[in-house]
Symmetry: C2
Subunit: 358 residues, 2 copies
């Protein structure tokens, strides 16, 4: 299911292949976010041209609209959005905590009100798995409680017990499905809790393991410290996923520590806001260089050079900074589109570089 | 420059080829609107795939942003937006009347305040031509006064005199350029004024002639009546352009009367609003059938059929009505994009059908 092909000489980085029901994925990799069943503004044809190997769908959003039932007729999420490569879905838990109103965590699951219409919904671990199976996800995440930062020790301790219990129930619910189920290690910034969480999950034997509860506002050093002691707790021969980390330097540090999978809205959301990633320099794991260009800035008004002369995306191959700026200033969504394409390509190129370096 | 290849047996419709500096255009044709230097949300590559032969840019918008100067460095509007086929630009007059504030019509030109920042601007016939030459337009329209409907006889009479005078000045301003300059017949709904306007313009000898001042709110029968007596006043061997008519049945009626060129925001604007043109049936000039589908409607929720089974566009070839509806309901601009592509293709197919019928 997961084969490591090469290990880096100087760091814990590794390169490999993750086999899924709908295709192989070169690791380490980054997943663009198809929040509600589409990477905003981008077609599946374009995603493939950009080198995307897999996209991530959000269970919370898809549960509310269009709802699980529809996916049975639509041929799953892949059939619905016409994406013929692998899909990972999250459990829905993260958005319940960030978007859901009046949420109550109970042993059986999490109760919340939809942010759209206030409808009261109970999401159990079994519900989450059933939804993800209906989506036809290649990689399914267990329902977990993503503790906030900062988080008191006792809260974090109870939280990992709940998360492990839910993980066990998710594993039962998945049954004989070909989908790969991933456990999520929690435990906030407490080493003994991370240890306990990892140990209990590994004993349950998942297809892969995520590090959750990071990239939630903790200081950078803290995050690296947690990664430093958590990643080695995870089985060498299983894929490792750092949820929510999206800054290029954050991804680099995690890859160096042996993480294989990433997702984030950064490239797509920043693209829509006209913040464009250019000038990638990445020759070793010692240093990554790049710039974020604000395309609406007056200084690009008469700049007839490409956005990034080293980029092979459609945007850079065809248009000037002056034209992109004009599209943003005149609020034509072609600008958001071209910016999103470029940013996704930047992330794909960055991951390609990392795989080459290893 | 313009060659008529075939005339319809039963109507005044004709099929031909309009040669421009940047390519030949099969007539009759429809021009998608690239208001501010882009067909909203659509790339030039897609426009070509859809069968667009030419796009229309709005001088008023481009004058204000990014301004004429920039186009000299950008390689004209075609270089700026990377469109290598022909471009027609309007004179700017129409938007001065619809968007500009505090406009004053003077013999030398029209004075107005920008709708963006209130800046006072004087647009003379010479300014309009200079701007359109800076854009590198293949077809340049004279500055005219588009009289509103209803319009008193005396107002309309003075207006055509001004329009003819401005047309004469535009012709002088164009000089030896390879761009084709079109005159615009005005005269509201008064046959003798239309006659006078056409006569005076034809005497000035333009590369083509537009019928202006229609599709401004007059009853349908009135419009056809005006077309009935105005089109025969225009030279047989020059292209004829009905400005602003965009309803399929309106285009059909005009083509039957010998009009060759059309433009309208209808396919693109309606696409963005989720109003989609489907079910084209067009076997003769006697009748055109189609439907406008509101894609957000609940009834499409579980409709897994293509938008239009007879359409060859990317949208119809790949996605279901259920998915398109989902994109509109969740406000992903991929929905607007796919809808716009489809509607443009509908108009292109409709014009292709008309050319085949002739």
């Amino acid at each position: 299911m997961f084969t490591i092909e090469k290990k880096d000489d100087k760091t814990s980085a590794r390169r490999g292949i993750l086999k899924t029901a709908h295709g192989d994925i070169q690791t380490p990799f980054f997943m663009p976010i198809a929040t509600k069943g589409a990477v905003k503004g981008v077609t599946p044809t374009e995603l493939k041209e950009l080198g995307a190997q897999i996209v991530l769908g959000n269970t919370y959003h898809l549960l509310l609209r269009p709802g699980t039932e529809l996916f049975k007729q639509a041929g799953g999420l892949r059939g619905f959005m016409k994406w013929d490569k692998p899909i990972l879905t999250d459990s829905g838990g993260y958005q319940v905590f960030s978007l859901g109103k009046m949420r109550k965590i109970k042993p059986e699951g999490v109760e919340f009100r939809s942010h759209l219409d206030g409808q009261k919904i109970m999401l159990t671990p079994e519900d989450s798995v059933r939804a993800q199976l209906a989506f036809g996800s290649d990689i399914i995440m267990v329902l977990d409680e993503c503790a906030p930062y900062p988080c008191e020790y006792n809260y974090a301790k109870e939280s990992i017990e709940l998360t492990t219990d839910w993980a066990r129930r998710c594993k039962q619910a998945v049954g004989e499905s070909k989908s790969l189920l991933f456990g999520i290690v929690q435990g906030s910034v407490y080493e003994d809790l991370r240890q306990k969480s990892a140990q209990d999950l590994v004993a349950l034997d998942f297809a892969g393991y995520a590090v959750g509860g990071l990239a939630v506002g903790e200081p950078e050093e803290k995050k690296l410290e947690v990664l430093d002691y958590t990643v080695p707790l995870l089985p060498e021969d299983k894929p490792r996923y750092l949820m929510g980390e999206g800054r290029p330097e954050g991804i680099l540090e995690a890859v160096k520590r042996g993480v294989d999978m990433f997702d984030c809205v950064i490239p797509t959301r920043n693209g829509r806001h006209g913040h464009l990633y250019v000038g990638l320099k990445l020759d070793s794991f010692d240093k990554i260089e790049y710039k974020v260009l604000r395309i609406s800035n007056e200084k690009h008004r008469e700049d007839f050079t490409p956005l990034d002369k080293d980029c092979d995306c459609y945007t850079c191959q065809n248009f000037t900074r002056a034209y992109l700026r004009h599209l943003f200033v005149t609020e034509d969504y072609l600008g958001q589109r071209l910016a999103t394409l470029h940013n996704i390509r930047f992330y794909m190129r960055m991951m390609e570089r990392m795989r080459e370096i290893i």
